[in-house]
Amino acid sequence: MIALLRRQAFPLSVATAAIAVLSLFFLIPLWKVFDASILDASGKVLTFANYKTVLSNRFFLSGLTNSLIIAVSSSVTTIMIGVPLAFCIARLPMAGKSLLLALAALPLVLPSFVSAYALVLMFGRAGIVTRFLHDLGIPFDSIYGIKGIVATYALTLYPYVVLPTVAAFKSVDVSVEEAAQNLGASRLRTMRTVTLPIVLPSILAGGLLVFIETLENFGVPFVLAEDKPILAVEAFKLFVSETAANPASAGVLGMLLITCTIAALLIQRAVLARRYSATGARRSPPLLVVGPTLRALGTAYCWLIVSTALVPFIAVVAISFMRFNGPVLHYDLSLSNFTELLRQSYRPLTNTLLLSTLAAIGTTLIGVPIGYLLVRRRSRLTALLDIVATSPFAVAGTVLGIGLVLAYSNGFLILTGTWMIMVIAYVVRKLPFAVKSSSAILHQIDQNLEEASINLGFPPFATFLRITVPLIIGGIVGGAVLTFVTVASELSSTVVLYSGPWMTMTVVMFQALEGTSAGAATAAATILILFTAIPVALVYRLLRRHERSVLNS
C-alpha cells in the first residue's frame, strides 16, 4: 500500500491539486451562478420565479432565439465555406499551400470583435463603403444586426472547420477510396459515400466549436447587434445594472447559455455515437489530377476566402494611421489616433502584456502536467480530471466572470477587483486548450522512449527532463504563445472582471466603441493585432520545424 502510494505520488498530487484549483475557480463560481438563478432577489428564498420571469419576457426570449439563430447559421455557414476550402487545400495541386494554410489559421488568433468593428467602419451607417455606395446612388442598408454578426463569425471562425477537416481529408486511408472505385463507384460517388462520411466527425467537431464560440462571444454582438438582444451581452448588462442583492436574472441567462452549449455537445455526441473514427492511415490519398480550369477555380476560391477574412484586419490597421475628426474619417496619414489612445496612460498596454504573460505561464504550468497524466497515467481519477479540466470550454466568459465575482467578493477569499481574478479567469478558460494540445503532443511521443530511458538508468523525473521535455518543448512553447495571444484579445470575462487600474487594451477598445472615440478604437485594434500576429509569426517557424523533426524520426 505504501509502495503503491509512493509510485502514485506524482499523479495523485498533480490530480488532487488540479481538481482543487478547478473546484475553487471553476466549479464553485459556476455553482454560484446557478445558485443566483434559483434564489429570489433577496438571495434567501428558493424559487423558480426568475426562470419564469425571464422566459416570459419577450425581450429575453428573443435574446435566446437570436443567439441560437446566430449560432446555428454561423456553424452552417462556416461549414459550407470551410469544407470546400479544406478539400482544395488537402487534395488539389496548388502553389503556396503552406502560406495559404498559415493565413487561413490566422483569423483564429486575431480578435474577432476587431473584425466586427472593421466591418462597421466599412459598411456601417457612416462607413467608408456605405458612403461611397450612397455617393454613387446605390442604396445599401447597413450591416448591423444578425446578418452582420453571422458574416463576421463566418469570416473569423471558419478556420475552426478548415483545420480539422484538412487533417481529416489527408488522413483518409487511400486504399479505402481505391476500394470504392474498384467496386465501381465514380469519383463523385466515392466522395459522397466514402470520403465525406469518414471526415464528417471532424467537420462536426469544427462546427461545434463555432457554435460554442458564437454563443459565448461578447465583443462581436456588442459591436454589431445594436438594439437586438443577445444572451451573452444581456447577461453582462443585467449583471452590471442589477441592483438587488442577488443577480437573479443574470444568473438565469447564464444558465440558459450553459444549457444551450451542453445541448449542442450532447447532440454532437449522439450524431457521432454510431460512427467509427478514422483508422490510422497507412498512405494518405494522392493529390487529384485535375484540369487547369478546375485547378484555377479551386486556387481562386481558396485565396478569395482567406484574403476576404483578412481584409477587415488590414483595413483597421490602415485606418488607424488616418486622422479622425470625432467619428468622421479624413484620408490623411497621422499618428493622432495612437497619441490620443496613449495620452492618458500606457497602463492598459502593459496590463495586457503582463496579464497575458502570467495567464500563459499559469495555463502551461497547470495544463501540461494534466495533459501528461491524461496520456500516461490513465485512471478513474484522471478520467474525472479530464472532464473537469476541459469543461470550462463550454462556459461563456461572461458567465465565468459573473460566477467569480459572486464567489470571491466577500468571505474567506476576496479577489474581486484584483489582477489575480482576471488571471484566474484566463487560466481556467484557456486550460482546456492547453490540456488538449499538450496531450495531443504527448500522444505522438512513443512511451517506449521514456521506458528506454528509465531502463538505461535515469529515474522517471530525470527521464521526463531529458527525453519528454526536449521532445515536447516546441509544442509547449507554441501552446503558451497561443494562450498569450488569445488572452490578449479576450473580452468576455475581462469586461466583467477588470477594475480601474487593471484595464486592458480590449477594455480600452470596448470603451472607445461605447463612446465616440473611433480613432482611439482603431489604434487599440492595431495594437491588439500586433500583439497577436507578431508572437504567432515568431513561433510559427519554430512550431513547423519542431513538427518536422519529430515526425521524421
Binding site: A3, R7, D446, N448, L449, E451, A452, S453, I454, N455, L456, G457, F458, P459, P460, A462, T463, I467, P470, L471, S549, V550, N552, S553
Partner: protein, 354 residues
Amino acid sequence: MTSIMIDEVARSFGNIPAVDNVSIAIRNGEFFTLLGPSGCGKTTLLRMVAGFCELDRGRILFGEQRVDTLPPHQRNTGMVFQNYAVFPHLTVGDNVAYGLRARKISKPEIDARVARTLKLIQLDGYQSRWPHQLSGGQLQRAAIARAVVIEPRVLLLDEPLSNLDAKLRVEMRGEIRRLQKTLGITVVYVTHDQEEALSMSDRIAVMRTGRIQQVADPRTLYERPATPFVAKFVGTTNLLSGTVTQCDGDIATIVIDGTGMLVRTSAVRLGDRVELSLRPEALRLLSAGEAAPPGWSVLAGKLEDSEYLGAATRINLRLASGPLLQLMAESVPAADAATVAYDPARAAVWRKEA
C-alpha cells in the same frame, strides 16, 4: 550477468490474467526465449523483469537479489524495444552513451566504450548520425548497442526483429546470437516466431493465456511437446483425436475415425480418449513395392492435393476412413492411391481431460 528466478509471478488486467502463476529459472549466460501467440503474456512477463509492469503476486530475483521491489531504473537491465525507441533528438553516439551518462561514468571512458560497442555492432562511423538518417536495420543495431554498452545484468529483447524484412531478420538472428555468445550475457528474448525461437535459443518457454506450457531446449520442445498446443505452435504437425482400443506393453492401438494406428507409449490406458501428434517428417510416402523401414507401420490413403515448395513437396493424404495427414515428399506420387509409413516411436500422445 546473472541468473534470473521468476517465482510464482502473477498479474491480471481487470479480470483477465495476463501472467498466471509463472515460475521460471533462467541460467546465467543463457539465451532464453519466451514464445507464444499474441496476448499470451510473454511481453508482460518481460516487462515485469524490466520493471515496467507491477506484480500482483510472486518474486523476481537476479542471482540472490530480489529485484521486483526495485524501480526499473535501478535494475540494470538492457532492453531492446520492438520499435527500437531510439531517441529521435539525440545522435547515434549520444543514444549509445545515454545509459553510461546515467551511471556517471567519466567522459573518456564513455567515449571509449561507445566506440568499442559501435564497432562490435558494426555501426562504427555512424556516431554523429541522426536516427532519422538510419535504415531500419541500423536503428535496430543502435538500439542493441545502447542496451549492451551499459553491461547490463540481463539483456531483454521484445520482438526485436518483427519490424525488419525477412532476409534482414535471418541475418540479425545470427548476429544477435553471436553477440550474446561473445558477451556471455543472459538474454531473455520475446517472440511469436517459432522458427526464430528454435534457431536462437538455449531454452524456450512456450506460453499460452498467461501460463507456461513447457520449458525445454529447442529439440525437446519440437520432438517431445508437452501439450497438443506446443506441438501445434512449434513447427507443423498432424493433430488427431482417437480412442485407445488396445494396450500391448508399450504399444497402444489408437482408433482414429475407424483407422487403427500403433503408437509407442506407456502413458495411456485402455478406453482413454487421446490426442495424437505426428510430425510430417515422421511420415514417409512409400513407392509401389517399397518396404516400410524396420519398426514402422503402414497406412493406406488417397492423395488429396499437393503444394510444391521448391526443396520439397507438401502432400495432403486422406486416409480411407477420413482423417487428413500432411507430409513432405521429394515428388508427387504417380498414382492417387498411396501407402504411407510412420514411426510409432515419434508420435506424441496425450490423454484428453474428461
